[in-house]
């Protein structure tokens, strides 16, 4: 299972986890955030999901933030990221500053130039894997969701599957479920950057 390391594997059982998903416009990071939030709501956790809008989203990078907690969430925005996931280099550079030293960083190893951070880091060719497995690089966001859950168990697998089924277009459901399964099957310890 996903107990690759103490930090990543423990995120799912923490009472309060702040997650930031970053990428460039069109990579589907907003949808990724919404699906993660829906899955957490299905797990009966408290969730707040926010995102970047407008000029920022149309520029080089966009973000979706998800706070998952066991109690009511007061302040709705991120005060620091326990988990940062980025699919583009620009997003990585822009959002890395908000990552906690004790946090976890997952990035696309083809897109992002390796950063120097104290956080526990995982580098996976997420977009390339999506292209190989589904023939569509656009399914990288759903594959990444699978990878996040494999890494952290932030939401339960059945909830993730139901959330994906609810939120993606019917026509591409099979393709996206395959991408999700591929993400879930990743072995985090193989991708850890030491």
């Amino acid at each position: 299972m996903a107990q690759a390391s103490a930090t990543a594997g423990r995120l799912g059982s923490r009472r309060f986890v702040e997650t930031r998903l970053g990428g460039s416009g069109g990579q589907g990071v907003i949808l990724m955030g919404v699906i993660l939030a829906v899955a957490a709501a299905r797990d009966h956790r408290h969730v707040v999901q926010t995102q970047s809008y407008g000029p920022e989203a149309r520029g080089g990078y966009s973000r979706a933030d998800v706070i998952i907690a066991n109690e009511q969430i007061d302040y709705p925005q991120l005060q620091g990221a326990d988990l940062l996931v980025t699919l583009s280099d620009q997003a990585a550079k822009h959002y890395i500053g908000g990552l906690r030293r004790t946090g976890v960083f997952l990035y696309d190893s083809d897109e992002v130039s390796p950063p120097t951070v104290l956080a526990e880091t995982y580098a996976v060719p997420l977009i390339r894997l999506a292209q190989e497995i589904t023939g569509r690089s656009q399914s990288a966001n759903i594959l990444t969701l699978g990878a996040i859950v494999a890494l952290t168990e932030l939401v339960t697998r059945p909830s993730l599957e139901r959330a994906v089924a609810e939120m993606v277009p019917k026509a591409s459901l099979d393709l996206n479920l395959r991408a999700m399964e591929a993400g879930l099957a990743l072995k985090p310890e193989e991708w850890r950057v030491v």
Partner: protein
């Protein structure tokens, strides 16, 4: 028999988990409160309210109109209201400015309707995607003339649902426009909450329950009877000062009486209209008075400060106008500082100061960079105040 939260219910993922966007929750609250007429013009960050109404209203036999602008939108809503339908529109600052003249008309004609203003940074087109609370005094005094105002403020997604319902109830009961203020963050965020609990507020100001009919003592003698188009009485509607026939009057006594009654129907029911919640009551030397997004910062700051050994009281206001005078003065008498965080340069702090400065020091903490005030910023300000006090 439909459940009271029938529209909300469709959003349910399963037995009790919901994840709804703030703007959508406002539209669902309106539908569940019986709104069947919506006219609007899309504007960020409020457009999802309109989009939801466009999709849902026809399914329940309601009427949705996309108008050519915000002036036409609110005028259509006044028309809808005069036919007896509960009417609503939604906008943001620039649209709210255009609506002001007609809001005055609705007050004068006593046409109940709900206006949701999801605030963004202004003035003018400002920053469409950045949150603000810059329209607070516009919601109070935006239209000309001496007039009453009922203004509510939402701080989270479930507020968007139930305060929209409250706005509908208040509008119908007091026969006047009611403004619900939200901001970009509250409007656009998605948040989980329980459907069954969504209709109930357990507040310091008293429980507010939508699950039963909102039945209160009759206001027949205080609120003028509705216009009945097509019926025999009062077929005439005007923005001019009018008498009981609905036709204009210049009689000084009748004129003064009429305007006084418009005020009194709101002012005499502050107890019912003013919704608020007090946390850590009587436990700190500082009380943070907050509304909207800032109330969430305040609640988080309360916990953070507690953790750092500084007890802080929080007064969370859901009703901004009529001004909740009684609770503001009660808090003012027991604390040394009232700290008012706002996403403007102290619009509401000035109102609080008028009520409270004879008992306490009122401090405005305004932020206009289009980001929320963080709990850390608030706690630092509180420590600063408490520290200063100790050094005196």
């Amino acid at each position: 028999m439909e459940l009271w939260y029938t529209h909300l219910l469709r959003e349910k993922l399963d037995q009790d988990s919901l994840l709804v966007q703030g703007n959508r929750a406002s539209a669902l609250g309106a539908l569940d409160a019986g709104v069947r007429f919506f006219a609007g013009y899309p504007i960020t960050p409020s457009s999802e309210i309109m989009e939801t109404m466009a999709r849902e209203l026809p399914k329940v036999g309601g009427v949705f109109l996309q108008m050519e602008d915000e002036i036409a939108s609110i005028c259509a809503c006044i028309g809808g209201s005069l036919t007896g339908e509960i009417s609503m529109t939604a906008t943001s600052g620039p649209g709210f400015s255009l609506m002001q003249e007609a809001i005055g008309y609705a007050i004068m004609a006593e046409a109940p309707l709900v206006i949701v203003n999801v605030m963004r940074v202004g003035p003018s087109t400002g920053r469409p995607t950045a949150p603000s609370q810059g329209d607070v005094m516009q919601a109070r005094w935006g239209t000309h003339g001496d007039h009453p105002a009922i203004v509510l403020a939402a701080s989270n997604v479930v507020d968007m649902y139930r305060l929209t319902m409250a706005a509908v109830r208040f509008a119908q009961r007091f026969r006047t426009p009611v403004t619900l203020l939200a901001d970009e963050v509250v409007g656009h965020m998605r948040e989980s909450f329980s459907a069954e609990k969504a209709g109930r507020y357990r507040l310091s100001s008293g429980d507010f329950d939508f699950t039963e009919n909102y039945s209160r003592p009759d206001l027949v003698r205080e609120v003028h009877p509705p216009h009945q188009l097509g019926a025999f009485r009062h077929p005439h509607v005007t923005g001019l000062v009018h008498d009981e026939t609905g036709f204009p009057t210049n009689d000084p006594q009748k004129s003064a009486e009429f305007l006084r009654e418009l005020h009194d129907k709101v002012a005499h029911h502050r107890d019912e209209l003013c919704l608020y919640d007090v946390k850590n009551e009587g436990r700190g030397r500082v009380c943070i008075v907050a509304y909207g997004s800032c109330a969430r910062s305040a609640r988080a700051a309360m916990d953070l400060a507690q953790h750092e050994g500084i007890p802080v009281e929080v007064l969370h206001l859901y009703t901004l106008f009529p001004l909740p005078v009684e609770i503001l003065q009660r808090v003012a008498r027991r604390v040394e500082f009232m700290l008012i965080p706002e996403l403007n340069l102290g619009q509401y702090a000035r109102e609080v100061r008028k009520m409270a400065e004879q008992w306490t020091t009122v401090i405005s903490m305004g932020k206009i960079d289009g980001t929320l005030i963080t709990p850390r910023e608030l706690v630092d300000r509180v420590s600063d105040l408490v520290g200063k006090y100790e050094n005196v």
